[in-house]
Amino acid sequence: MMDFSSPPCLIEAENLSFHYGEGDLVQQVLKNVGLRVMSGEFIILAGPSGSGKSTLLSLIGALRPIQKGKLQVCQYDMGQSKASMHLIRRQIGYVFQQHNLLNFLTARQNVEMTLEMLGDDDEFSRKEKSLDMLDKVGLKKEANKYPPELSVGQRQRVAIARSLVHQPRLILADEPTASLDGKSGAQVVELLRDMVKTAGCGALVVTHDERIFHYADAILRIEDGVIYGEAREGGHNVGV
């Protein structure tokens, strides 16, 4: 029987395996990974360098086709048709380690790029939403500045605003705090967590940064392509 009271599952991976290279050079990076992330959950994925965190995130983010196993993201089956990959990407808010803002656009124009992509053709509403989002990341005053005029931490926050302005159902973040000092790192993670708790989306955050572990609903550890789950308050295991 279907349980309608349980929150929707945003990421569901089963026996997901992934390798780089061919023949003798093949390197198995993910080994039968299982993973579930629900709406309203803020999950941290931690593990040593080279353990496969970014690779896993790139599969979930529809940045590369899956090879083996099952992966559903926002209820869409992954890896079937290449054409729909960019449409799944639009459901997700990515936060990258590097901000990669366009230098020739102001902070607000950078944020608006997301809304333009989604076909929001009301210029006024785009502007309002972008300013709102910049306000949330504490950069309302910097809205008309170009990225080179902002500090690294400010740029990262603009990038976060760009990733989240369309209120995605799923947030993926790959070491979002790596280029930030402790204070702005904490601000960023608090912001992500707020989004999860107020908007009811889900987040999977890759990090080495132990200072932010306490924000997580659950911490998953990945080592050599295998995930080890940690029990959390809800009682169910995220790592399968």
Binding site: S54, T55, L57, S58, G61, L63, R64, C74, Y76, S84, H86, L87, I88, R89, R90, Q91, Y94, F96, Q98, N100, L101, L102, N103, F104, L105, Q109, M113, T114, L115, E116, M117, L118, G119, D120, D121, D122, R162, S163, H166, Q167, D174
Partner: protein, 400 residues
């Protein structure tokens, strides 16, 4: 209707206007680079405009006589290459044309080149001399019909006002002193009037004399030899039909040409026998090539310098086609910003050049359109070459 937060099953095409705006913001952000690229396009435009202008002006000037002669069909010897390299054919061959029913009249034209002594400085310049029957309207040049009655006298000459200034202030002397003597081919002739023709490839100045005077100037030429035969048809005659009938009765060494064919014949000489056409086409290609390299460089660098940004946008859900639109928009911007000022600039340049080469330079809409198409093609190819680089902007790279 709002198309926001669409489901993944309903793809939303991003309006091309957004891509265009992004291209504009990207280009205008770095003004120096932008103007360098625009300067490249302007350079290409000017080269193309000028080369096309020179080429058409020179070909039009080369075929000036052919285009303005009266008559519908022209006869010349097959060995005749150009107006200044004519091989005469027998007069009686010309009269044979009269046997075709729709031929109304035939007349002969004689062409020669001889030195003209500047009446002020005494310096010789080579003039193209046309000998015509003074009773026949051969050319509709301005001023010629007024001056033509005087041409019936012997040893008189009509002078082309558009001859280069090195020929002397003939019109002025004529106005001040009336008819005056000049030396042509070592003989004394009286200048009795002027007309307006324009210089051709063959010479820097033109004269018209009657046929009798012509043979006195060129004693080596025989009055039995015709340089060009001009055939006038009866009103309403079928030119192609008469041409065919004339071909049937003419010896094989006679070319029977309509006006268009005669013009093409003269053009073909300058185009094939001389490297003129090639030189100008080469100029156009060089201009386009330099422009192509400059525009390609700028577009390529814009992509190359924004690899990570584009990859990030792709990871967010932007499609390749959006960036293709951005690059193509940049090309469109270069065309528009580069072409129209060049058009204006070249209208002025044409006038400057015209004043110094004494050949009419006319910046027609067709030339502008042709240049516009060539420059658009150039920018479009640059864009297509640069777009290949987009494939390298891979969204997985932003995770590394």
């Amino acid at each position: 209707m709002r198309r926001q937060n669409s489901s993944p099953n309903t793809p939303t095409a991003i309006p091309a206007g957004y891509a265009f705006r992004l291209a504009w913001r990207q280009l205008s952000y770095q003004k120096v680079r932008f103007f360098t690229a625009v300067a490249g396009v302007v350079f290409a435009c000017i080269l193309v405009f000028m080369q096309i202008g020179f080429k058409t002006a020179l070909f039009e000037s080369a075929t000036l006589l052919q285009r303005t002669m009266t008559g519908q069909i022209y006869l010349s010897d097959v060995q005749s290459e150009a107006i200044w390299r004519l091989v005469p054919f027998p007069r009686k061959t010309l009269y044979r044309a009269l046997s075709v029913p729709d031929v109304q009249d035939v007349s002969a034209m004689y062409v020669g080149q001889a030195p003209w002594k500047n009446p002020v400085t005494g310096v010789n310049r080579t003039a193209l001399i046309l000998g015509i029957d003074p009773n026949v309207d051969v050319f509709p040049f301005e001023g010629l019909s007024e001056a033509a009655p005087k041409l019936r006298m012997r040893n008189v000459v009509l002078f082309d006002e558009f001859s280069r200034p090195e020929f002397g202030p003939v019109k002025q002397i004529l106005a001040e002193k009336g008819e005056f003597p000049v030396e042509v081919a070592g003989r004394n002739l009286d200048v009795v009037g002027t007309y307006k023709m324009g210089i051709t490839f063959s010479a820097d100045g033109n004269l018209i004399v009657n046929d009798t005077t012509f043979f006195e100037l060129f004693p080596a030429k025989s009055p039995q030899g015709v340089d060009v035969g001009i055939v006038k048809l009866a009103p309403g005659a079928d030119i192609q039909q008469v041409q065919k009938e004339l071909r049937d009765i003419m010896p094989v060494n006679i070319k029977v040409m309509t006006r268009e064919e005669y013009v093409e014949d003269e053009k073909a000489y300058w185009n094939n026998i001389t490297p003129i056409g090639y030189i100008f086409n080469f100029g156009v290609i060089m201009g386009l090539f330099v422009g192509l390299v400059i525009v390609y460089q700028v577009l390529y660098n814009d992509i190359n310098n924004h690899m990570h940004e584009y990859a990030t946008l792709k990871a967010m859900g932007y499609e390749d086609s959006y960036f293709v639109k951005v690059v193509l928009s940049s090309a469109v911007i270069f065309v528009v910003v580069g072409f129209f000022p060049s058009w204006l600039l070249c209208s002025a340049l044409y006038k400057v050049v015209q004043a110094s080469i004494f050949i009419e330079m006319n910046l027609s809409f067709e030339k502008a359109l042709l240049t516009f198409c060539l420059i658009s093609g150039m920018c479009f190819i640059s864009a297509l070459l640069a777009v290949r680089k987009l494939k390298v902007a891979n969204p997985v790279d932003v995770f590394q």
